[in-house]
């Protein structure tokens, strides 16, 4: 497969994304961006299943509204990765910032390391369209807030205690799996705790193996440790807020 290489050094984001789009539309299936340095919205307007390899540090909103491509970031990512993403895959060989995958609707996001605050919030899901997020390290507060769907996996491989509080506040759909244990005080009031069932374990095996392939980790060893499952206790978490 031919690789179309673009040197992003000193290129404005608008010009860079226009060049990437032109390359994709010219039929290139693999595009390599070198010397990326803070350019935003990479992958946003591409609607083809192209592979984009990003070397350097991309800017905010990587893959925002993205529909189809696979973006692999060889480095850390910033805030807003996968914002309202519709389909495709983003793989980050490093950590990512705040608001990762807000309102994500479909596709997959794999982050090797940690993520910041307000990640995996407002995830959507309908029918067979289910967004999946796998995070290798930890996450911060409001993780999974207002989730309406999706599957989120937090592996905690950084060896640190999970920092997030208010996990899953307002959750009314979807599930979060956390490897190891989680202090109930860290959970939102609307979240229930359970053991993963058989179908959950099959799902975890599949996505953890994918994580292992992306980041050269022994998935079997990661899966050896137990997971807890966080689920929405109520279909209408705020149903009793109002006078009837």
């Amino acid at each position: 497969m031919s690789r179309f290489v673009i040197n992003a050094r000193g290129v404005n984001y608008r010009d860079l994304n226009a060049r990437v789009k032109a390359a994709a539309e010219a039929g290139n299936e693999a595009i390599v961006l070198r010397n990326v340095h803070g350019q935003r919205y990479i992958g946003t307007s591409l609607r083809k299943p192209v592979k984009v390899d990003v070397y350097g540090t991309p800017g905010n909103d990587l893959g925002a509204f993205m529909d189809g491509p696979t973006v692999e970031v060889h480095g850390n990512a910033q805030d807003g990765l996968g914002n309202t993403m519709n389909s495709g895959e983003i793989v980050v060989h490093g950590s990512a910032g705040d608001i990762l995958a807000m309102a994500m609707r479909g596709g997959r996001v794999f982050v090797e390391g940690d993520v910041g605050y307000r990640c995996a919030i407002h995830l959507k899901e309908y029918g067979a369209k289910v967004p999946v997020i796998v995070i290798g390290g930890g996450a911060q507060d409001f993780f999974g807030e207002y989730m309406a769907g999706g599957r989120v996996v937090l592996l905690g491989l950084n060896g640190e205690k999970l920092g997030a509080n208010f996990i899953g506040t307002g959750m009314h759909g979807g599930v979060i799996f956390i490897r190891g244990r989680v202090d109930p005080d860290q959970l939102g009031k609307e979240v229930g705790l359970a053991e993963p069932d058989e179908s959950d374990r099959a799902f975890l095996a599949e996505v953890v193996q994918a994580y292992g392939r992306h980041f050269r980790r022994d998935a079997g060893r990661v899966l050896e440790d137990g997971f807890v499952k966080l689920y929405p206790r109520f279909l209408r978490p705020y149903g009793r807020l109002y006078a009837q």
Binding site: I121, K124, H172, P237
Partner: protein, 501 residues
Amino acid sequence: MPHFAPAQFTVERRDTRCIRCRVCVNQCSFEVHYYDAESDEVRSRDERCVGCHRCEALCPTQALAVRFNPMEIRPNANWRPEHIRDLQRQAETGGVLLTGAGNDKPFRVYWDHLLLNASQVTNPSIDPLREPMELRTILGRKPDRLDFDDLKGDLMTELDAQVTVETPIIFSGMSYGAISYNAHLALNQAAREFGTLYNTGEGGWPVEFRRFGDHTIAQCASGRFGIDLDYLESAAVIEIKIGQGAKPGIGGHLPAEKVTPPVAATRMIPAGTDALSPAPQHDIYSIEDLAMLINALKEATGYAKPVGVKIAAVHNAPAIASGAVRAGADIVAIDGLRGGTGAAPKVVRDNVGLPIELALAAVHDRLVKEGIRNRASILAAGGIRSSADVVKAIALGADAVYIGTAALVAMGCTLCQMCYTGKCNWGIAVTDPWLTKRVNPDIATRHLLNLLRAWNLEIKEMLGGMGINALESLRGNRLQLRGVGLEEWELKVLGVRGAGA
């Protein structure tokens, strides 16, 4: 523990006229009417009546009259019946009181204190029946300056994306879920046929309506419902909804009663849950973040369409609007205190925000003073009731206005304010298939078209009277307005002289 709170409405039934056809029984989703077979009588449970007058309108023999039934307690200017009733409901439920539609409190309606000018003798008025009147309005960013090729005279300046409407009246955002499929279809059809714009609201946009895309504003709000590239690309304009005049600063919960499977599919949430829109958009905590989303939307759609920002009219609206324009907004919509809603806490609807007239004048002045008024169009929203309100809004500085409630009234709404219950008897603010059938989309489309036509004709009459033949000449032209019964500070904010001055 008994309390005194009489039914808000009483149903008067003239038994001699009643033919026991039971239309009222079948029409009322609040189950006010029932048929008693034993006595062969139709009776009513007045305490359930919300005063929507559906039964009265459909009774084939005019046997019904629904009357307001005020609480006849000792008159008290402070503790009014509304307070007593609300206190009782809250004591019983411990919940937030919800309501629908716009603020119904007697705050000053400035439109009613502004009078328009007309020409006499020296600057003759124009007969709109004889001469062309220009109502066409172009929305979007206008350039700071124009450069032309010196030799050929060609325009050298690259223009930003703009959109043209044939009237300064645009349908306001009302979500699919808040109002019905048929209501959306009617608004979408009418906008296309008249050459104006329909706004999807924040609940997504049924895919089969995308054929009306050239006449659609697609909204991107805090719940991010139904937003993908198809949605964004199909529309003519994208609007980031930051706030709503009926409930500034708070989000929204579309009650589960209205989240039917088609609504859930459009929003990509589970059916039977409340659709939750949080107060802020969690990727926007600053003007810089707003700029980031504006540019993300422009990147996603190839810079081919204007991106607007809708804010509620709040105390520092001028500074916020200025920030939005500097962040790249091509259109700024300001939604005032009296803007409608499908559901809002009553306490917020009735106590938060600013009248649109004051906010509009202040925002326009601020943008003019900063020399950036050309960079964004201003849409005024929130309680536009007539063509006169439209003309006054434009004279205060708006490029165009949004109408929401007025459009609903054109489709049958009687402002009973029960939009949040999912029981709208007029088939508008409801998703129950049995009730939504009550809006015939083609008849509703015709009513909307009639409304736009009538207002357009009236606007032309008023413009002609002022000796103006293009709406553009009225924009921000406050000399055409005079205030009556206003305080000095109000005249100052509005930038108009008092009548006679």
